[in-house]
Amino acid sequence: MRTLYIQIMFARCCLPTIGIILSYGMIVSGIVGCEAKGTSLKERESLHEIDHDLPPYWPSSMNDAATKIEARLQRLRADSLKDEEKAKLFVELTDLIEWTPEVAADTRLKESHWIPIYEASEAIRKQLPLNEVSFKQVYQPLEGLIQLLRKSDSFELATRGSK
């Protein structure tokens, strides 16, 4: 009797649910099917083909970050740039400013020496994303950040050398 009760209860709950699931499932399968059309697993060479590609201008060191920021600053100062070029440079410069603390953290720099870089980058970040107006406001702080990055890089190299 009790067993029968459980069976009935499960059947009453489960059968309509399975029906709903199956019909609803057709919608989901449709969505995922359409989705997978462009990037189906069979079309991909590997299951793990989609990867984290580092952008080409990802800095390899603090010094490299300083050089890359400086190069973009100099190009932006040139008046002859087209609007698309300028926009691209603003995006790259924004990225470089964002990445600076991470690049500096990935070294043997002590926390006390990392903080000024982080704070300088955070101060500039408040003006982001960069455009014609905000660029003028961050120009000086950016020059300061470049100096700080170069100084920290030589300091870190010297510390590593002494070890």
Binding site: C13, I18, I21, V28, I50, H52, E111
Partner: protein
Amino acid sequence: METAIAGGVIRGIQGVASASATILIGLFIATVLRFYLGPLGTKRLFGGETVRSLPQSWLIGMLLPVCSIGVIPMLIEMKRIGVRRGAITAFALAAPLFNPLSILYGLTLSRPVIIIGFAAASLLVVTVIGIIWDSITKSNGIEEPVVEDESKVIGMRRIFACVVFAARELAGPTGAYAFIAILGLVFLGSVLPHGALQTSVEQGDIWAPLKMAIIAIFIYAPPMLTMSQLGMMFDHGNSPGASFCLLLLGTGINLGTIVWTARNYGIRQTLVWLVSLTAIVIALAYGINKPLIPVGIKPAGHTHAFDIYTNPLIQGTAISASQFYDLSIRDLSIVDKFGLVALAIMLCFGVASRTLFFGTIERLLAAPANKEDHIGSHGFQMIVPKQVVGLTGLIGLVVLSVVGCFAYYPKPSEVLEEMKIARVEVLSNALSGNYEAALRWIPVLEEWSRRLEVGSAIRRRELRPYQQAQTHLLRTKLELLEHLLEHELDDRQAKSNDHNHKPHSDSDEVKTMIPSISLTSENIVKAYE
């Protein structure tokens, strides 16, 4: 076909394991409501008929460590007692979304303001849905039932009655609704091929929140899992709107709660409730989709956050019994394994008490009042009002979950030791070519790095940017290593099938990652010591 079924079953077992602890907690709270607080006490706990009923209900829900399945026995009890419907729905939605553990975990995932914003928006949705639900049921003239307090027994017999009630619930309605909720995971695991959702919720995809809303109805996710998924979505620059849909519809509800609502309030009203909820969530998701895109994070073009809802097996590959065991049982955490065993014991007792021993147990419970029931109020031998016992139990649970925060997030020195062990496993296995083992340890190390952040923050009342930067850097490197190792495994597989296969040149990259991860680990030790 074989892969689809096996994959679905594996996802189902994983789902039951992750829900086991919170189901048991939910059953415990339901027994407290039934045998201790009683109808009056429970109604008062959830604000009665006052205006504060809705916020009070979601506040209590946020304090209790339950998931969307664990909440079901409490909903059944609240409905039986006649708690206001708006309060039931507010509690049902809010309780699984957040608990002290998951909020702390969430704060380490991305900028805290995003998680706080998500929490605020979720509570707004919960309140609005509660008001809508109240007005629907009032306009239909549905009155709350008036229930007499049934539990007259006290002492050990009451405790026995509680155990019997919880076990029978598990072997009865709660078990059935939990099974329905898990069916959603089984279904997704069967129909979605391995990794099929990796590119479905990209930042630039206008349909991402809508797609997530549709899929999330099937999803059962405990709060901690959702928090880690939200973190992965933000780290990968996925759609914030889709993340919001996952939180509200994936974690807040499941198929079981929808079926429970339909059976108790009718299909039409449930449809109105579900459509209103989905519409509000989708509208808010589109509203926050652009403003919440984190600055400086380059979209990775994919996410692994939803791999857990797709088939764990690659289509066409044969599965052995040992592989099945590894994926469904061996990889479970010790807490999940323990929960699974406890749940199985309780289920067995529940089935036995509903069938074989039904008569015996009923006789025991209905036996005439014994000496213990007539203890007078003299000295320490006094009858403590059951509301006091019940409230103490609930407050104890909240206190326990706060204490649990400190246990789950140990002090930094202990975590650093655990991280050292995990790091050695990752690096030595990666170097020696035992990539499967290294891949098993990477998530362990990632998890400890998050616990390190929370454990440090709750003890020292601060989490310095340098500390955050180092742990974030470690996770980024671990993810890169994970990808490299997966490539290597793919190459090995392809080479065993085709001897002319041209491998990727990742093995050297793996070697270059080792010193880089070691450097960050050294920095982490210095930062958190």
